[in-house]
Amino acid sequence: MELYELTLQQLIKELESKRTNAQAIMTAVMGRINEVDGKVQAFLTLNQTAAMEKAAEFDRQPWPGVIAGIPFAVKDNYCTRGVKTTCASKMLEDFIPPYDAAVVEKLHGAGGILAGKLNMDEFAMGCSTETSAFFPSHNPWDLERVPGGSSGGAAAAVAADEIPLALVSDTGGSARQPASYCGVVGLKPTYGRVSRRGIVAYASSLDQAGIISKDVADAALVLGIIAGHDPRDSTSEKKEVPDYSTVLTTDIKGLKIGYPREYFQQAEGNVGTAVKKALLEFEKMGAIVEEVSLPHSEYALPAYYIIGPAEASSNMGRFDGIRYGQRDNSAENVAELISGSRQRGFGPEVKRRIILGTYVLSSGKYEKYYLQALKVRRLIRDDFTGVFNDYDVIIAPTTPNTAFKIGENASDLITSYRSDIFTVPVNMAGLPAISVPCGLVGGLPVGMQIIAKPFAETTLLNTAYAFEQATDHHQLKPDLGVR
């Protein structure tokens, strides 16, 4: 096996046993990126020179840390000190933050080396990376298809063996949906489990840091690094962080799994079938699998498209061309400067959500839309709480379909938005969830979503780990036609 194909755990072993060194790993990763990224287009910025120097430094004098000497990449909405952070938007085309996001700090603290920044939908608004102001990324399983979104670059990069680990954000499914489409693992922790500081905000009450990795053990390892209270993010919880990685077990005997009727009704037949087959695996392992109901599921997506844009309309206000970012220098006055900069800086999907959000918060509409959506959110949360009284985890398809073709949904936004129908409710309820590969349909990966109670990441990861150990779906690799 090539170095770039290895998981984090395997790379750690290789380094520990001195069979390889950090430069060899970084060289392999950069080589792989050079080889395939012309097709996949997962990266927006490569940190090649700095990363190679850092790897050499590590080899001269290794530093400690869980992922010491190992490359990682982050979605381009994570602020990285001295490295361009564009959010895949013209607005921030040349923006270089003066600080690192909390999660990036932690990965540096664990000894990792930043290899580059990954493509995404503009400001994380989209389901396919097609709203990226620069270019869409391509699904390694079928280059004519989208890798999903908004963290499509991250999922594609991990699936194409360009990088062993990617940090992403997940507001409505942005970690899980692309992981599902690309056949990799996508983890969204509980809201408040991981600091949001330094992640460019889309919707503050829904955003959470996420992990895209090659397998569940790697996701557990990384969650252990990035989780925990951050005094500079008031919404991060002061809860103890278990050592997720060492408590991983395949023993899930007696685990109570609920599978929601509504989700399977909405999924395409063969996608539902693939996940049902996975459920049989769980029964074989001694889990109790029963059908449950989440009756308000169908309202989650419309409510999400009120709450998300409402918060986004406010969070996007700071991009006014005054202090940084795109600036309309032809403006004659302040009003023109602000509107001109925003006009040029934002793409159509971002503008659409700003306008939508501005509308639902405006006088007279607030009660009718925003407050109503908050009520729906409460009902969705109650649905989950009800099921979790009797069940340990909920399992459903991550997406109703497999990856769609680039441009296929260009004129049909609703269909595009619908690829998030199973992931959005989880953000609305602030729950932890993971997407793991559970087979192929028509040559394209299908993801199984496991959802757990708030802060029950251990249960979540164990369930996913048990499945992964019992099957080999995660070992399937796309053929990119090289070598």
């Binding site: 602020c79 952070t85 959010c87 921030l92 923006f95 933050p97 003066p98 600080y99 996001a101 949001r196 500081r197 330094g198 992640i199 460019v200 905000a201 503050s204 009450s205 005094p231 500079r232 993010d233 008031s234 919404t235 409402a310 918060e311 309309s313 406010s314 206000g317 700071r318 991009f319 006014d320 005054i322 202090r323 940084y324 302040v334 602000i338 501005t358 918060l361 405006s362 006088s363 607030y366 925003y370």
Partner: protein, 480 residues
């Protein structure tokens, strides 16, 4: 004041809370620093930065609420007020609309000899915006610069009910509020530095009518005087429009202090829709009643309690007590001085007389003046022991005010010791009598005024250093 109409006024006062650091980040709040030297990613609106609430802001807000007899909410939250302006880096101001920290307070004022209670609807925490610096004036400037040092400085907005009925009442309310903020030690409350700012809502209605008239909001009121003048102007304007059969429109107006007029800024229709909604980056705040009790214990003496103490302990007239307790600085001056010189009424007279005259003349406040309380006490003792006369003391006091030197030093340096020696005085007085035979005749024929003239002549001859009592006595002896 028109007899037919009544003016109705409510005030919105923004008080800057006295904290070392800003409301949501660790940047300093000091006034007057070089532009953009007290900023960070959060208060300059960089992406990814998140707010962390400064506990001191909550504490000072609770303290203010208690001083204003308000209820402290057990649960409050922050909301975003969204609008675009270059001095507002995140394009929203974090404020409290839906659940403010203080509700239903009041403060009592006294206007034209009558006591009156002004209700306070609410007080809420919010962040200040930055400042624009224009080249020249705002209309002619070719560019503007943004200084964000002030962005994120904590404010408490205190909103009264429309309970005031004259410009004078409004001024007295604002003075009283300022005094309470100072006594509670929650704000520097300096109007000239903008650490308290005031907007006035003004309407008029025919007397006896219950319905409020159309109201206008006046901004840019930078002094007590501006507040009073602007309200008077605006109320007159309203009356004239109504009397002429016109219609008033609800709008925001700005006070032009130079021209003495208000000018329309924007009408209700043009008013921005701020799209308030909860700020979800800041978790809701739950206030422990035990904490409120603790803060209550730290609340210093408030002006009304101090007034009562001055009347009870020193038998001071209500008027004196009210003036001395106008600010904690003047009360402190009084208390310290009286501790050294127990004749409270004399201290009060000097404070309200000479000291206040000089402060007004130099447009200063008592805490800025060079005279310390012990210096005034020393001066009063020197009058009592006959070293100097009351008249001389006034000159010494002026010199103290100008130089900050002790009275003993001034007296010594200027050779200002009082002349009490009867032989020395007798000689001088004899000379005065000789030089003013006509006046002496008048005096002898019973004209009291004439004696005053003669005393004055003696004082003139001694450069005010003659002991007045001794002069009176010797004059009497020599002339009778």
């Amino acid at each position: 004041m028109s007899k037919e109409f009544e003016t109705v006024i409510g005030l919105e006062v923004h008080a800057e809370l006295k904290t070392d650091t800003k409301i949501f980040c660790g940047c300093k709040t000091a006034f007057g620093a070089e532009p953009n030297t007290q900023i960070c990613p959060l208060c300059s609106g960089f992406p990814g930065a998140l707010p962390v609430l400064n506990k001191k802001v909550v504490e000072l807000s609770i303290k203010t609420g208690l001083a204003l007899n308000a209820e402290i909410a057990a649960h409050c939250q922050f909301d975003r007020k969204n609008y675009f302006y270059p001095d507002l880096p995140s394009a929203y101001q974090v404020s409290q609309l839906f659940l403010p920290i203080c509700l239903n307070g009041y403060l009592d004022i006294e206007a034209e000899g009558e006591k009156k209670r002004i209700r306070i609807n609410r007080a809420h925490m919010e962040e200040d915006a930055g400042k624009l610096i224009h080249e020249g004036t705002i209309t002619t400037t070719s560019f503007s610069l943004v200084d964000l040092n002030r962005a994120g400085v904590p404010l408490l907005e205190i909103v009264s009910e429309p309970d005031m009925r004259s410009a004078q009442e409004a001024r007295i309310y604002l003075e009283k509020l300022r005094s309470i903020l100072l006594f509670a030690q929650v704000s520097d409350a300096r109007m000239e530095e903008g650490s308290i700012r005031c907007d006035a809502n003004v309407s008029v209605r025919r007397r006896g009518e219950e319905k409020l008239g159309v109201r206008t909001e006046i901004k840019n009121l930078n002094s007590f005087k501006a507040l009073e003048r602007a309200i008077e102007y605006e109320a007159r304007r309203h009356r004239e429009v109504i009397e002429d059969g016109g219609t008033l429109i609800q709008e925001t107006r700005t006070w032009d202090d130079e021209k003495g007029i208000t000018r329309s800024m924007r009408s209700k229709e043009e008013a921005e829709d701020y799209r308030y909604f909860p700020d979800l980056d800041i978790p809701p705040i739950y206030i422990d009643p035990a904490w409120v009790e603790e803060i209550k214990k730290t609340l210093p003496e408030m002006p009304e309690q101090a007034q009562q103490r001055l009347r009870d302990d020193y038998d001071l007239p209500e008027y004196d007590a009210a003036i001395i307790t106008a600010t904690p600085y003047s009360l402190q001056f009084f208390d310290r001085c009286v501790a050294l010189y127990p004749e409270a009424k004399t201290v009060s007279n000097w404070m309200m007389g000479e000291l206040s005259r000089l402060l007004n003349q130099h447009n200063m406040e008592i805490q800025q003046c060079l005279i310390a309380p012990d210096m005034l006490a020393d001066l009063l003792k020197l009058i009592d022991d006959g070293t100097i006369s009351g008249k001389m003391a006034k000159n010494v006091f002026e010199e103290m005010f100008a130089s900050g030197n002790s009275p003993a030093r001034i007296i010594k340096e200027q050779g200002m010791v009082q002349i009490t020696d009867e032989d020395v005085l007798g000689e001088i007085i004899a000379g005065v009598i000789q030089n003013n035979p006509g006046v002496v005749d008048d005096y002898k024929s019973g004209k009291e005024k004439a004696r005053g003239f003669l005393v004055g002549q003696v004082m003139k001859a001694t450069k005010g250093q003659a002991n007045p009592a001794a002069v009176q006595k010797i004059l009497k002896d020599l002339l009778n």
